[in-house]
Amino acid sequence: MGVPFSIRGLDKKFGGLAAVQNVDLDLQEGVTTALVGPNGAGKTTLFNLATGHIIPDGGEVLLDGKSVLGQSPHLIARMGVARSFQDLRLFGRMSVRDNVRAAIEPTAWLWQPGGGSAARKREAAVDAALDRCGLTKQADARAVDLAYAERKFLSVARILATGARIWLLDEPASGLDPHSRARFVQLVRDAVAEGVTICLIEHNLDIVTELADRIAFLDRGAKLAEGAPQEILRDPKLIGIYFGEQRT
């Protein structure tokens, strides 16, 4: 099993406040890792550092063993890393179909490489992604006009259609009703079955136990523990931190 994506000793300070300090993390191929920790633990910042949206103060980000540190986000994305955002960041005034199209087009000029056959392939990928996310009927609606759950699925459909091999999902299932949640779990499982490497941030521990093969526990920017779910979730100290922080 390879390690397509790994983080070594990552550091980031915001105005003297350590948001992420000395974090190591390996994402193993086909394995789903969950980032767990109280609010403000630095989970989203870690994603932003990994995808190049924020430049770290120190440390290393490796994709297939090669450093991508300092690369701009769009270049890292083109290497097969796709991510979602906590606040979704859909392309609000575009149609659902165009949201997915925009996400998968490799260049942004008049003509795409590959000509007609590549275009047909892309359209097929868009259709398939919309279908799997249950958005076929809404394909021509504008993203802002969708219902909450539909918007969440659209953010997944964008990633799904890209065919990226590494997915970074930021709270993808929060606020979903049980029916949608089941659909989401199935989507992720299908992806894993196809060999996708996933890292997700999730507060709902039920989903974490359902999906995650490993858990990395973060608090105040530092990784406190990493291991199998039952190991971590049974550690009373970690659970104390987790719920203790949640209640304030």
Partner: protein, 289 residues
């Protein structure tokens, strides 16, 4: 009356190009520039100088105007890449105010406040096209061509990528869009079109000076785009027609003295801007937001 209508149609066509070009920035790329008159002006000066110094070929002038404006559009792209929102609006304001001073100071290139006078009648491949009708036909052809280009570009992946950046810059980056390159290109495209409009304007007026390229011109064009509706092909054109026909329409009302038409016109378009933003922020041609 025919002369008057031709006059109006030509002006509307030129402003149509200008509004469509600003729409590329505001509507599709989400770059809220209020310095658009600067690039209109650059094109006008370039076109006028070409006609005065070398050859009054209107097609060459359009190309020169577009090229100069596109080249100098970096002045706008630079802040657009660095800051967003209110900051960018402020930056474009700064650019606009500086440009007006440069336009009025660079006597050798712009003629200062006195302007560039005596721009020769327009020709096209040696044929005279300066008459009202042929010039209108030429301007319309340019407008049609540019609108077609905008439509092709915006319906394609370039447009989708731009709109993606407009709606969420970070998400667009996360899906492999080169935000810097795309924004720079979009700014260059919009400004080049404004430059083309400027070159046409220079021939139409046979005279250019800094008064046509001030902040209020930028605001007027912005109002045309906003009132008509952003990110649609027809919206800016509707805005242009409304705002250009407004003074003509007002002059039919006998109770407004002619010297007050300007103020009344401003009153109406100011009010229209505010009311539209309150009740229909996507503009007249735009859908519900």
């Amino acid at each position: 009356m025919i002369a008057y209508l031709l006059n109006l149609a030509t002006l509307a066509t030129i402003f149509g190009i200008l509004a469509a070009s600003l729409n590329v920035l505001i509507g599709y790329a989400g770059i809220f520039s209020i310095a658009h008159a600067v690039f209109f002006g650059l094109g006008a000066y370039a076109g006028a100088q070409l006609a005065l110094q070398f050859i009054p070929d209107v097609l060459l002038a359009c190309l020169a105007g577009g090229a100069i404006s596109a080249a100098l559009s970096l002045c706008l792209a630079l802040p657009a890449l660095r800051v967003r929102g209110e900051y960018f609006v402020a930056a474009s304001l700064g650019l606009q105010m500086m440009a007006v001073t440069v336009f009025s100071e660079a006597h050798a290139l712009t003629g200062g406040h006195g302007g560039l006078v005596g721009i020769p009648p327009a020709t096209l491949f040696g044929a005279d096209v300066s008459g009202p009708a042929p010039f209108l036909v030429f301007a319309l052809a340019v407008l049609g061509l540019l609108l077609l280009a905008v439509r092709l570009l915006m319906r394609g992946s370039f447009g989708r990528a731009l709109m993606a950046i407009r709606d969420s810059e970070s998400a667009a980056e996360a899906f492999g869009k080169d935000v810097r390159a795309l924004k720079t290109l979009a700014v260059a495209l919009g400004c080049a079109m404004a430059g083309v409009a400027g070159a046409l304007f220079a021939f139409y007026m046979a005279f250019v000076n800094v008064e046509s390229f001030t902040l209020e011109q930028s605001i007027l064009v912005m109002a045309m785009v906003i009132i008509g509706g952003t990110a649609t092909l027809a919206g800016p054109l509707i805005g242009v027609l409304l705002l250009l026909l407004l003074p003509a329409g007002l002059s039919f009302l006998p109770f407004i003295p002619p010297t007050q038409i300007g103020a009344v016109q401003q009153l109406i378009y100011g009010l229209a801007m505010t009311l539209l933003m309150i009740f229909r922020p996507a503009g007249i041609a735009g859908g519900r937001r």
